[in-house]
Symmetry: C2
Subunit: 220 residues, 2 copies
């Protein structure tokens, strides 16, 4: 009975997600569902990305958070359109929430929409929100055992950004082991080690993202 | 409709949680529900605690994880009884899962049961599992904005262990700000900054825990 309800919710969600994606795809907008643990560095990665791609990529952000607008405030500080979704305690975004956000964005003038999900390595992976791809941010301070412990989110993601590599010397994070585990779960995932603090590796992330945006435009 | 189902699930869960707690309390066993983000250091804190209280506190651990037994294997390596619960992708433990674990433990010879929840700063806070108190581990690498972003888990907790304080110099974590935010959410919470790596602050955690265990015995 409990499972049946869950299935119905997921079916309905997938329907709305398809609607959301169709609307964005009609404009050639590439849409990214950004996921990861609390504090993995999703918002920091976004802030760096906005600055790096300014003038080149027209970007908007939909921010998911339980109660606050802390992340949306950070993003707004960089001068890009941002829409805040508060889940009121809910542990993930769903397609309906993102659909409501679309009406607030000027879709005629965008190349990229990033949906920053609630900080959570479990639940967001189960709900499509209308994205083209999911991306997971894992920080080295979380530990290299996390991919095998939370496999679904890595299986669902087109890219895994391994953040805070500047802190590797102060942890026992084994990048080779984490890489092996993630590619074992998902052989076609793009693995991008970065430090949002020092900037190391971010060029690879920007290149990956720009390729996705260009591919989407070409397919439209 | 969705809300109604959720309420029913929570009511039923609270009933079973009360059963679990009654069974443990009858033996004077103190029970702790240990929560926190993936990689905050819950298992490391437990490993340190087992070693520090060896010979003094008879302890067992119930380990929650989506799929693996990685944490249970670490705990078993320290020679304490451990029971693994795999949620099969589920984002939190519930009382029924813990109830199943109790039958595997020798309750006549225990002072403390620690239930290590799934790594998640959202969902575990919503489900009692039969514990006397909840404790949340927050690591400094997650950022000092997390208490206000995830208030429920701090509101529900008797103690917050701020872990990885040895990494504060390499982050912009503001311990005073985090402390103010957490006590704003929960004025009676015990705040215990520690580093499981260097050992700093752990004595305060052991003292806090031993006081709780002794109080429970006295109340029985």
């Amino acid at each position: 009975m409990e499972i049946k309800v869950m299935e119905n919710i997921l079916d309905k969600n997938d329907e709305i997600a398809a609607e959301v994606n169709a609307r964005l795809s009609a404009r050639g907008i590439f849409t990214l569902n950004l996921m990861g643990s609390p504090g993995s560095g999703k918002t920091s990665l976004l802030e760096k990305t906005i600055e790096a791609l300014r003038g080149e990529v027209r970007m908007a952000v939909i921010e998911g958070d339980l109660f606050t607008s802390k992340d949306a405030d950070r993003i707004a500080g960089h001068g890009v359109p941002v829409f805040q979704i508060n889940t009121g305690g809910g542990c993930h975004l769903d397609a309906n929430m993102v659909k409501a956000g679309l009406d607030k964005l000027d879709l005629a003038n965008l190349d990229l929409v990033v949906v920053e999900n609630v900080g959570n390595l479990v639940c967001p992976a189960e709900f499509n929100v209308g994205e083209d791809v999911k991306v997971t941010v894992l920080s080295v301070t979380e530990g290299d055992d996390k991919p095998l412990k939370y496999p679904l989110i890595f299986k669902q993601s087109a890219a895994a950004v391994i953040n805070k590599i500047d802190l590797i010397p102060y942890t026992n994070f084994d990048l080779a082991a984490a890489t092996a585990d993630i590619t074992g779960i998902n052989p076609v995932i793009a693995l991008i080690p970065v430090s949002c603090r020092t900037g190391e590796g971010l060029d690879c992330w920007y290149d990956w993202l720009k390729t996705q945006i260009a591919d989407k435009k070409r397919r439209t």
